[in-house]
């Protein structure tokens, strides 16, 4: 083993062509996009706010309970996300082992997030569906729009199609989540194997 060999390898390694300028520009563009990470939370908050205003304009016990339920779901989700990812933002130390542990922790928390997410993915749409359809039914009835049996059948048909559409969306979301879950589980297994490998290597080196 000689330094000449390493020097030769170093020249071969560093002499390879590399195209970096475009990549740097792309990254700098993405850092701007990263600042918009909070946008996905604005939409549900906006829906909640609009629903609150509508119920305030047309107050009813049903509307009040619906709004309360919406905000409780929202609050639960925020609290859960904050709790679930506690301690999973930065490593305990600036070492490879600590970063590996952090990656493993994040995988486990992601899987936990998925388990809770699946429950919410079913309960929340069901709640919203019942709330919205119930509210629409009340509005129509109060407005005197439901006069004949035919009117009721039209409303029932519309409600049925809406429900089927929502169920379809939920099934799609759950199917997609299953794909992500499988990927995360594979990632976790790989990281655990890597951790064992590195620990074994450390042990061998320590004891000769």
């Amino acid at each position: 083993m000689s330094d000449d060999e390493m020097e030769m390898w170093r020249k071969q390694w560093q002499g390879q062509p590399s195209v970096v300028v475009d990549l740097i520009r792309r990254v700098e563009r993405e850092t701007v996009e990263m600042r918009m990470v909070w946008f996905p939370f604005f939409a549900p908050a906006a829906v909640g706010a609009v629903a609150t205003v509508l119920v305030a304009l047309h107050p009813s016990l049903w509307g009040f309970l619906f709004i309360l339920g919406l905000w409780l779901f929202g609050a639960f989700t925020l609290v859960f996300v904050k709790w679930n990812f506690k301690g999973a933002w930065t490593p305990q130390a600036e070492t490879t082992a600590a970063y590996l542990e952090l990656s493993i922790l994040r995988c486990r928390r992601k899987l936990r997030d998925d388990r809770v997410g699946r429950v919410i993915a079913v309960l929340l749409p069901a709640f919203v569906l019942v709330g919205v359809l119930g509210g629409v039914y009340d509005l129509l009835k109060d407005a005197g729009a439901l006069k004949t049996a035919g009117d009721y059948w039209i409303v029932a048909g519309t409600f049925l199609w809406t429900s089927l559409l929502i169920i379809g969306i939920v099934v799609f979301i759950l199917f997609n989540q299953r794909r992500i879950r499988t990927k995360t589980q594979a990632e976790l297994e790989y990281l655990l194997t890597l951790q064992q490998q590195l620990l074994r290597e450390e042990g061998e080196n320590m004891f000769g």
Binding site: M6, W13, Q14, Q16, V19, V27, E28, M34, E201
Partner: protein, 183 residues
């Protein structure tokens, strides 16, 4: 350089200062990070994805960098950690039976032929190494000292030496085998 760093990484660096430092870091270390990314990936698109992951991770970590280590150690530590996560998410690139494709866009066939073939073989061999050996050998090839590699990987310097020796033995064997196959 250290005084400039102290000024930039002081208590509350401005956004413009951070952006400038980020740009300078990437310009200075970009080719090295790209080579490191290449050692963990099979294709150019994966390499570019990993490079972006690394660069974005550096961007996120930069405001909190308080010169506990050198900039090079800081950058390579992030790069190695991101590379491991990338492997976990995409699967290892070390499939000895797979044809490793590292095409460079925009190169003419003549330019590709005149490209450093030895460098390509070296990269392919490094991609086959177990990860703990790949880490030390790529850092050594980038010119980091034992102490710096120790700081990047969070292992002792003697451990660096042991892994490096084993990495060189394996790499030498792989290069000899590939040279024999080409005859």
């Amino acid at each position: 350089m250290q005084q400039e760093d102290r000024k930039i990484f002081g208590k509350n660096p401005s956004k413009a200062e951070i952006e400038k430092r980020f740009h300078d870091l990437l310009s200075a270390n970009g080719p090295a990070l790209l080579r490191l990314a290449r050692s963990y990936t099979k294709t150019t698109s994966d390499r570019d994805d990993l490079f972006q992951d690394i660069a974005l991770a550096i961007w996120k970590a930069l405001p909190g960098f308080r010169q506990e280590s050198s900039e090079r150690t800081f950058v390579f530590r992030i790069a190695n950690n991101r590379a491991m996560t990338f492997l976990a998410q995409r699967g290892p690139a070390t499939d000895p039976d797979a044809d490793v494709e590292v095409p460079d866009p925009g190169l003419s066939p003549e330019a590709e032929l005149s490209r450093d073939q030895e460098g390509v073989r070296l990269t392919q061999a490094i991609q086959i190494l177990p990860i703990e050996y790949r880490q030390v050998i790529t850092l050594m090839l980038e010119g980091l000292s034992y102490a710096e590699i120790s700081g990047v990987l969070g292992i002792g310097e003697s451990n660096v030496g042991v892994r490096l020796n084993r990495a060189r033995q394996m790499l030498r064997r792989l290069l000899e085998d590939s040279a024999y196959e080409r005859r």
